[in-house]
Amino acid sequence: MRWVLAIAILAAASFFLGAEAQDARQGHQTERISGSAGDVLEDDPVGRLKVYVYDLPSKYNKKLLKKDPRCLNHMFAAEIFMHRFLLSSAVRTFNPEEADWFYTPVYTTCDLTPSGLPLPFKSPRMMRSAIELIATSWPYWNRSEGADHFFVTPHDFGACFHYQEEKAIGRGILPLLQRATLVQTFGQKNHVCLKDGSITIPPFAPPQKMQAHLIPPDTPRSIFVYFRGLFYDTSNDPEGGYYARGARASVWENFKNNPLFDISTDHPPTYYEDMQRAVFCLCPLGWAPWSPRLVEAVVFGCIPVIIADDIVLPFADAIPWEEIGVFVAEEDVPKLDSILTSIPTDVILRKQRLLANPSMKQAMLFPQPAQQGDAFHQILNGLARKLPHGDNVFLKPGERALNWTAGPVGDLKPW
């Protein structure tokens, strides 16, 4: 009797092992992504949180967009699309008493120059004016001084509202946003403009435009390293050394003669197609450490080579970026070719499998209309992970934490 049992157990075990080995041998095309927060890319935020959307007058949002519809196409368009998504999302609630998070739809980057670059000079006043409005018209700001509110600030240096790093550091994060959660594209460790508890998001890249340039996946990847962009910003930094902390210039000087590196300042019409034919795509910092290249590399299956010291990548708690991309310190740029060629082949293939995972690509995009697992849902997942609110979120009556007169004098002017 015991023998029969033992044999039965052995048979079951071997069958189970055989099935597993079969799985491994099959060589899956994609791999499941488990970040430090677990397999959270596929979580559904609906039901885990409730968001109340403040109804601000249209001068903060719709009028700005009507004045300049180009705001919908530049890389900061995430704030506009987030607003539209939340208006029709299942997590929206019309009862502010039961809301966990409050959203203020103010388009602070929708002030573009004729050439299309956003000017941040009025943004602090715009934000301040919006906050004053919600603080006076609803009681929810005052009861927590903004700790259960979140704002989308996708500009170069987030809520520091400037494009030059020194000036941004000088300004610091807007004092009124000290307790709020910021959803921003900028992320760098130990930097003034990255608050603890911020959610880093990818910059906006138009999903339809990228889908339109897909090539058959069996096109062989024959470019080793690919990059298109500036190495020297001659108009703003004529001598070099400021732009990208000299890292891009270093890439050019070291590898312009290297046939493995397809790098230039061209703007080819086949940019997206070329990325799909490359194994590695460089994503070096520019004036700010983040760039849409990361999103493009992920969507096109090209392994991103991130050259930006201390950068905090989008949804870093959900996506294991070290396993997906290659991180190169800025001081190691002269050795970039040695670093890339010495990565073991199976590590490279594993990275490509992780990149091929559709949930990975979906998490980087802002599709219209929103789809399951896209960046909008990852933002909501991030907000949901911060729930339930801690004890210091809601202030005791009479307690005040914000200084309403802090900051440069110019910011205090009404907008």
Binding site: E166, V192, G241, P334, L340, T341
Partner: protein, 531 residues
């Protein structure tokens, strides 16, 4: 004095403005600031104005020769000490100190003033426009950063790191190529053809002058096909050693089948014989139960490698687009009217699809412009046209021919029932009961995957057997005796002269001493012969 004041200040301001735009901006603006601070000194003698002018010129010269960085360093050390030491927190000076001790790297630039030491400053001179607002930025930066845990990433100018020999290392290049090969292999495994099937290539051929030309081309194409391949060569007139040796050199798997009838010299008959040879090959495939995709590759056709990738997708019977190259063969082109040229359709034979990708008909080659001018005999200098639908445009699954095969559709005729009564088998559609079930391949016929061409020499043209010259040539055959027609009389006599000269020279070298006498004598002889 007042008069002198105005031009002075204007000079200063314009100089400052101009200098701010140029590279010597720091020094000049510093100079302007310095001048502005004691603007009341404008009341002094013109010596002061010349002094400032000279100082400005000196600063420009310094910056010209030593570079912007040095002059700016000078400016900072001379003029900004007041701002630094008057700041409230001591951390500001520590900020500067920290900045000066960060990365000193070597930068080799191509400017004439090579700066070997690069100092990094935290926020001293911003990229232009540089204003005196620098100082407030420095202050606030210092106070801003002092409160945070220090990251090693410093804002400001960094050196551009260049390694001493910025050229590719061959070992690394090879490693990169191996990585790419492995990546491409994985891509093929994931996205390419899952189970490649064997390709059975059916070629009717016969021994003639152009056989080596055509078979060599086809041989090379087939060698490059990445799938397992069997080449079934049917030879008219029985197997010959010449063909066999040509095929043996290919390194492919060959099935060399003899066909009893000789190839006729008439194009119409030749087409019919080829069709019968192909059917014979199909019967052999059926007997031997060969499994795979059957491609009809005529020896004179040209095939693209994509054809063989595309035919892997065929289920039972597929059709591809064939480009028809009607080679004219004459010196003069057939006279086509303008209308003919306009209406000339594409020389493509293949499946025609509707918008939903289903087969609705066939494109065939329009032979009307060539009416009456086509070649009838092999080797004639006139266009050779295809008839209806060529076999080359069709692909079969060999299981379709087997007597018993699972899943064999009922719209396929049994092979035994075809061609037995000596009827003409024009195209493979006669193998089917229902021609509408043919699958269009190559993006529904939009991609032309092979080209049909018939180029042959005269049927009786001479060529060395197996293209080996045995025994070696001793006599140069005069042009008059070769079978191909002469082009012009003048040309041939010139040829004759030169040939006679060559022969004479050779003979005179061996036999006689004086050349000239013999040449003239011969020439005279030749001319006599000509007339």
């Amino acid at each position: 004095m007042m008069k002198s004041l105005l031009p002075q200040s204007q000079l200063r301001r314009s100089a400052a403005a101009a200098a701010a735009r140029s590279s010597g901006g720091g020094a000049a603006s510093g100079g302007a600031d310095g001048a502005g601070s004691d603007g009341g000194a404008g009341g002094r003698a013109p010596a002061a104005s010349t002094f400032w002018f000279l100082l400005h010129a000196l600063c420009c010269l310094v910056s010209l020769f030593l570079g912007f960085r040095f002059s700016r360093l000078l400016f900072v050390l001379l003029f900004s000490t007041t701002a630094l030491y008057s700041s409230t927190s001591s951390s500001s000076s520590s900020a500067v100190l920290r900045a000066t001790t960060t990365t000193t790297t070597t930068t080799t630039t191509t400017t004439t003033t090579t700066n070997t030491i690069t100092l990094s400053f935290a926020a001293t001179a911003n990229p232009p426009p540089s204003t005196s607002a620098n100082y407030t930025a420095l202050d606030s930066a210092a106070s801003g950063t002092s409160g945070h845990t220090q990251s090693h990433v410093v804002v400001g100018r960094h050196g551009i790191r260049i390694r001493p020999w910025p050229h590719p290392d061959p070992v690394e290049v090879m490693r990169a190529h191996r990585i790419m090969e492995r990546v491409q292999e994985e891509q093929r495994r994931w996205y390419g053809i899952k189970e490649p099937r064997q390709v059975l290539v059916v070629t009717p051929t016969y021994s003639r002058a152009f056989q080596a030309l055509h078979l060599t081309g086809l041989l090379h194409s087939l060698r490059n096909v990445p799938y397992p391949l069997t080449w079934i060569v049917v030879e008219a007139g029985g197997t010959t050693n010449a063909t066999a040796s040509l095929l043996a050199r290919s390194g492919l798997t060959i099935v060399h089948i003899p066909f009893p009838d000789r190839m006729p010299h008439d194009w119409a008959d030749r087409h019919a014989t080829e069709n019968r040879m192909r059917l014979h090959a199909l019967r052999v495939i059926r007997e031997r139960k060969m499994d795979g995709v059957i491609v009809f590759a005529d020896d004179s056709n040209v095939h693209s490698l994509e054809l063989f990738d595309e035919v892997q997708k065929v289920q039972w019977m597929g059709a591809v687009s064939v480009g028809i190259l009607a080679h004219t063969g004459t010196a003069g082109q057939p006279r086509l009217s303008e209308e003919d040229k306009q209406n000339m359709p594409l020389p493509v034979q293949g499946p025609a699809c509707n918008s939903s990708g289903q087969l609705v008909g066939w494109h065939t080659f329009n032979s009307l412009p060539f009416a009456g001018k086509t070649a009838t005999v092999v080797g004639e200098a006139a266009p050779v046209l295809p008839r209806g639908l060529e076999w080359a445009g069709f692909v079969l699954n060999s299981r379709m021919l087997w007597k018993e095969a699972e899943g064999k559709p009922d719209w396929v005729k049994d092979l035994d029932a075809v061609g037995e009564n000596g009827e003409e088998i024009e195209n493979p559609l006669t193998l089917l009961n229902d021609p509408s079930s043919v699958e269009p391949l190559g993006n529904c016929g939009r991609k032309v995957l092979l080209w049909w061409l018939r180029v042959e020499a005269r049927a009786d043209s001479k060529f060395p057997q197996g293209w080996v010259i045995q025994p070696p040539l001793e006599v140069v055959v005069p042009a008059k005796r070769t079978p191909w027609p002469e082009t012009t009389a003048v040309l041939s006599s010139e040829l004759l002269d030169t040939k006679q000269d060559q022969e004479d020279r050779r003979l005179s070298r061996t036999n006689r001493s004086s050349r000239s006498r013999s040449t003239t004598k011969r020439k005279g002889d030749v001319q006599g012969q000509e007339n």
